[in-house]
Symmetry: D4
């Protein structure tokens, strides 16, 4: 598999965001990143020879820092050459080393760490001076993907518009609920939920 990964790497050009996680048991938590990117019009690359048509895309892999350290190294080292612009890396457990090690190996590519469990937060966020990594809260893969798009939007202003459109919808939703709660009153609002 590692040989295959190496072979793939030079071929791949398209994906802008790389989503990696330590185990497929993390996928339910990391699914938020998929949702956010899909919401913002990104498509998933599953075949490097047949990339999606949309301008922005992402790829998804399972890589275990502690069980497949060579694979992690291969992925991190080739990430920039393969055209990735930002990585979203999630890991669980108390030694959630995948985001941190990938940030060190893929440097200077920006890496956003997602602690898959509450107890993974300290391990993800705690990088030493000189080794940058940014983190979101435990389980917040959706926000990590939003942040990834914020980063991409520095070079691609059209993404700012997508981010704003998403946010307008969010605010309208809160406003509608607030008006409804106020008008129905607490008791009726709860009954009608």
């Amino acid at each position: 598999f590692e040989a295959e990964a190496d072979r793939d790497c030079p071929d791949a050009e398209t994906p802008d965001v790389g989503i990696i996680m330590g185990s497929d048991s993390d996928l339910d938590t990391m699914y938020g990143a998929y949702e956010a990117l899909s919401e913002l019009g990104f498509e998933e690359v599953t075949d490097y020879d047949d990339p999606p048509e949309s301008r922005f895309s992402f790829e998804t892999f399972v890589i275990s820092a502690h069980r497949t350290p060579e694979l992690m190294y291969a992925y991190g080292e080739t990430a920039r050459e393969r055209g990735l612009d930002v990585l979203v890396a999630g890991a669980g457990g108390k030694s959630a080393d995948l985001p941190n090690m990938t940030a060190s190996i893929a440097y200077p590519l920006p890496v956003i760490g997602v602690p898959v469990q509450e107890k993974s937060l300290d391990s993800v966020v705690g990088m030493p001076t000189g080794a940058p990594l940014v983190a979101v809260d435990a389980g917040k893969s959706f926000n990590a993907a939003l942040s990834a798009v914020q980063i991409l939007s520095r070079a691609h202003p059209e993404l700012e518009d997508r981010l704003e459109a998403y946010h307008d919808g969010l605010q309208d939703g809160v406003g509608a609920v607030s008006a409804r709660l106020h008008e129905l009153g607490t008791e009726r609002f709860r009954e009608e939920r």
Copy 2:
């Protein structure tokens, strides 16, 4: 002062990075951001009418979320128009709301939160789904600035070179210490420090 801030805003064009903190007592901790940006060739803008000559620059302000909420709103709302590309916001205490609120107001600009104290970490990192903010570890303003430059480097490849040059120096330093420790032996290495 708020009037002055409003007046300044449209004038300012240059700074790429905005550094804000909740109190000037946070400055010793936030000084790392100044150091990192200076190390990477950024200059500080202190007079909008007389910007520095270097291509990349930053500005520094004290803004308190709880004592000067209007000032925070004014800064966040105008940040994008004033040409800022990324904000580094630090706050202490357990209700370290400055990074979080600024991220909400300045959205979709990326904001990197710096918990000034260990106990500020949870408050900084804990954003709800849909409201993105990325965080570094408590006190790691140096890393926050490195991450800010990583973000800028997506649109400005020359910054990648600066980041790599910095990192090469860092690695050489570790290598030299390691060789010295190994060759002198533990006892002599400690004596000669």
Copy 3:
């Protein structure tokens, strides 16, 4: 919706207590405030043009600090003019900024913060010197409403009587249970529950 909120504000005069929360998913936890105020004879205002008849009343809104910062600002800034005397603000997550920011914006109105989750407590209680907010324990919206009435009772002595009547009932209940446990003995008391 924000425009509507602004329009509402000057019209509203009656509500003495404002209950706000960061999301309607907080409503089950914040329902305690509704229960306590109802128990003490307060009525909920759902239509400002048709206020309830009782002397004391309250209103309820959903406002998100991080997703609708402008709405929060509008609510906080107009609270005093709209005749509110005390706010009960609940928020969940680790960055539970709604109570804190509302306290800063609505100052000098007293605000009682309700951490909706245990992990929200630190963020709610941790205000810096000079920015007052008082908090209750996680989930204790019932107590927050009792405290709000204690505050109102400084200017409205009839509320002291209501508070005492409530408390007498509470004490009688504990006393009755204690007598029953003692007389039946532990085993039979458990069986007959």
Copy 4:
């Protein structure tokens, strides 16, 4: 001493705020309450037969929940009759029972608890449903006194003006520091401190 306390109680009429603490070793932490009340024009009552001239005043006592439970009962039970409107109670240690028990005994008088140490916070804030107490963060006796005045201001509008004047000064201070930091630049600002 308890007899003396009982004798004092009926005599006392004036103090609006009662400050109590579990030990005189808490006084350095509780001194913030003294500072805040003094800043807002309150005077300390030290002789009930010779009350201060200012309209608003406070008194200060040491009362230990665990070492002098009778004294605590006497103080709490007579607080309302003695004309007190709000109590600020501070205690240290992990079993910081003074604020909690006083809130139960002095009910329905509002009590603001001040955890004197970080480890006192849980014990102070954790009241059961039906037994109200509001708390500030560990060591924030200054804020507790501001909150006490916010409560008093519900019945005494002139106190609102004092609170606003205090806050305006606070905001001007932050603004001045921010302007100075921005204009001098980080390096010079630090040097000139």
Copy 5:
């Protein structure tokens, strides 16, 4: 009810151990104390006029520190005169004041505190110097009762024998399980459970 409690107090002579708890919702956790005392031959007193025949007995009450402070005071103050030798007091929540305040009021009677929840432990164990209380771990009311009997056994050597008989049974049980696990092997032992 309080009047009744006062009336009862002088009458009661027999119970050696007093079990009190903050709420009848604590009874499932405190039931361990009932079990341990029953196992060691103690009987529960439910009618002071008709005490049980066994030499050693106990009584059980619900007393809330925060909702019925007067009742707590009455119980603690009369405990020694009523012939109690040791109290086992359980309370939940973060402000688990019942054991602590009872220890202060009933002093010099020994009081064993039972934190009903994990979060009650700090509040129960954290007494200041000079105010003794001993605690068991969260939920360990069974052990609290064993400790109470250890204390009584200082004056009543026959209780030492009961404690040893209980312990011999416990050790035999562990030994039997260990032999069975070893002889069956892990797999079969698990199947046959």
Copy 6:
């Protein structure tokens, strides 16, 4: 040394309280037990052939659970035969096993555990069901000794008088400080300290 310990054991009859600690570095913390017992008229036994004249006495040893497990076993197993009535055992670190193991070995003798450091608390208090131990808060060896005397007082009523006399002095002290603070006022009280 162990042989000596064994030899000593049958000879010793007098000490009522045994104070043991895991290391002589714990002595500063455990010194509180010495102070409390001395305050209450207990004398330290240093030579079993020449016991002190006072009716009540104690002895002090260093015993390490992890470095001298045999010594711990020997001490615990012979404690009851040697006439000890209650043990006060202190240990530091996170694996503070000395109190717990001694309680298991010396059973049914009551053992009061003193966590020498805050981080030792969980390890000391956390005994499984069926293995009793009571604990005081971290560092509270003074209170542990008071509790030991409360236990002894069940069989020796004269110790109740000593405990009350100590407590009266304590209460007078708090009362005097409280009166002085109130009469001088906060500012002068602080100056004159």
Copy 7:
């Protein structure tokens, strides 16, 4: 039972690894050690007179530090003579003393501690200087057994091959999942699980 244990001890020669736990309720957690050793070709010894044929074997016992201290001493003291090379000891609760005490008694035999619950970790890992014990994370009995085999492999190189074979299988598994996730894409991968 203890007599039986003593009798067994000199007879036993074969088992290389001893697995002990504080209660049979720990067996589900400790079952991972059984699985790992079985996976690596170890067999369980259930009858010392009829040892298994495989070269490497293990035994399993329940031993409670607090309820059966004599049994723990007997096991630890005889472990080396009985031919054991490494012990895996698991315990739950906050006072998880079994691994620690066994490490002290069986010294210089290496002992790997398994905290059966998260709250047992501190107690297991926290040994004082001079008393060695190594620990794995809470619940990780599988890893403890792998580490035990790593230790044995220092003297038995054939075990290195087994460890590598196990690891190769593990890596292939991660690689296969990763390829599948990438090729199917996130949505289809989740559906087909």
Copy 8:
């Protein structure tokens, strides 16, 4: 430097124990490993061409997981071929990845992780199932080295004798202090320290 490390690796044969740490600022904490190995007769290898004469030896390096990931990979991958039998790896911070990653890369060599700070413990101990690492408590590099020698002693029985000799000295020391404290009494023992 990395080239040099690679060149060195095949040459090196002698060291039995490899001590690595993330930064030379960790050396004061890791010095305990040097002390323990020296106490047990191990010598430090500083020149591979001129190894020490003693049978057992160790080497020491600084390797940073996050700043020099290539160096870490090179060290871990060649460790077994270079003849090392066990590694002691220390790291500080919350993302203490050096021990964990080295354990994954150097597998199946046993690695003992030393958390250099208390906050490093979770990150060091928290390995996922299938990736073994054993840990000691924060700062306990001395114990880590003792454990390393316990591991080596499985194949080298003469090391068992050294370990026992060390332990006998330790026990004599505790015994002597205990006897002295008991004979002098608490007061005099403290004075004479």
